[in-house]
Symmetry: C2
Subunit: 242 residues, 2 copies
């Protein structure tokens, strides 16, 4: 990002110099490693809430309104957004549409992403039918399974191919993201295949920790784990009711 060259007079106190030099003039893109995962995760929530606000006919909002609706402080909302630029208007707040555009750009969902699903079992089928993906710009274009009954059919309009054709099809369809919904024992093998085929991000629904090389990003969703988070609180609240 060649920003370290000598800077003329006066510019010395610019904190976000790269905004000016970069050809993408509207959004500051810091090294993702320097952004806490929790911030990114909240960004998704802000986006979701802004979409609800727009649906309710609101034009603008404020850090305190956004925070209140999500259970965060106003300062947190502002600090989170400040990682990426200046999106607010002092005295006014944030214009919902503006902020939505900005957050989508940050999250990378200002364009469509082609997604493949591996594993058309119970969960896989549900993922194929889930409307929420399309709404956020994710296009589930193909699914894979080894079950000959399923291979060749279309489920929810999505073609099911044999797992053995994974590499070939992913390349042909230019797929960048994968979702793994196979049994735990098969998940690592499938993941290795996805990585070999050039996928750059994976969401894993199998209850195992998967190894991926540097440069491939990976998020795990474990349904039983979510329930355990709840039972912990419930069990301990019962044992310890203030």
């Amino acid at each position: 990002m060649g920003v370290t060259r000598p800077v003329p007079l006066g510019s010395l106190h610019l904190t976000h110099l790269v905004v000016i030099l970069s050809d993408d003039s509207s959004t500051f893109r810091p090294n993702p490693n320097s952004i806490p995962g929790a911030v990114v995760s909240r960004l998704s929530l802000y986006l979701r809430e802004l979409q609800h606000l727009i649906a309710d006919g609101k034009e603008t909002t404020s850090s305190s309104q956004l925070g209140r609706r999500l259970g965060f402080t106003d300062a947190q909302v502002r600090k989170d957004l400040a990682h990426f630029g200046h999106f607010g208007h002092p005295g006014i707040g944030y214009r919902c549409d503006e902020l939505i555009t900005a957050i989508r750009k940050i999250l990378g969902t200002d364009r469509e992403w082609q997604v493949a699903l591996v594993g058309v079992g119970n969960l896989g089928r549900a993922l194929l039918g889930y409307r929420g993906f399309a709404q956020q710009g994710f296009r589930l274009v193909v699914a894979f399974d080894t079950d000959e009954e399923k291979v060749g059919t279309r489920i929810e309009g999505v073609e099911v191919c044999h797992l053995s054709r994974l590499g070939e099809v992913l390349l042909e369809k230019q797929i960048e993201l994968g979702m793994v919904a196979v049994p735990a024992v098969d998940a690592q093998e499938v993941t290795d295949e996805l990585v070999k085929s050039g996928v750059s991000g994976i969401v894993n629904f199998a209850p195992v920790t998967l190894k991926v090389p540097e440069g491939v990003s990976m998020v795990g969703v474990d349904l039983a784990r979510e329930l355990e988070q709840v039972t912990f609180t419930v069990a301990n609240k019962l044992a310890n009711p203030d």
Copy 2:
């Protein structure tokens, strides 16, 4: 937890005095509010990994082995567990079965939990068929929907009742946990019903932030959000490849 009364001689350096006074002599149960959510979330991962280790025939493990497999440091593993008691054996490590028992007790999954599902759409059906719940002690006993086609049938062996019977059925079946898999617009209403019917914990799959009263615990799972976490990293890695 009346521990503040005068303590005789010698006991002054006991950190976990409550262990001795409590009638549950094996596990320290601190106020859940004092345990960071991140710790609890890792506890689930430790449990999962220990189960894999047992399946591989390992009798014992160590904080460094456990950490390495999950991408944490050994110190983190030890510190996390230290919140709840002394489960390890210096020089040896942790006995897998022992630690599994201890973590289940902490998470509250040392017993079965009766779970109800509301919303038998795509996702709901997948949840009904998901084996992972039973494996961790969650029993999905009943589902609710408003679709007359589904009401009265059994899906994956689970009875589907009409939503209007929610209160009655939950009480009768002594249900403690609910999973919400209805469209976003209906989620708050359904949640209010669950709470009114005495459910103490909820996992919400609708992309909205739900309000629940103090004392009801709530976890949200938003599938599009998970994908957004991945695209953020991918998009920014592409823009910023070190």
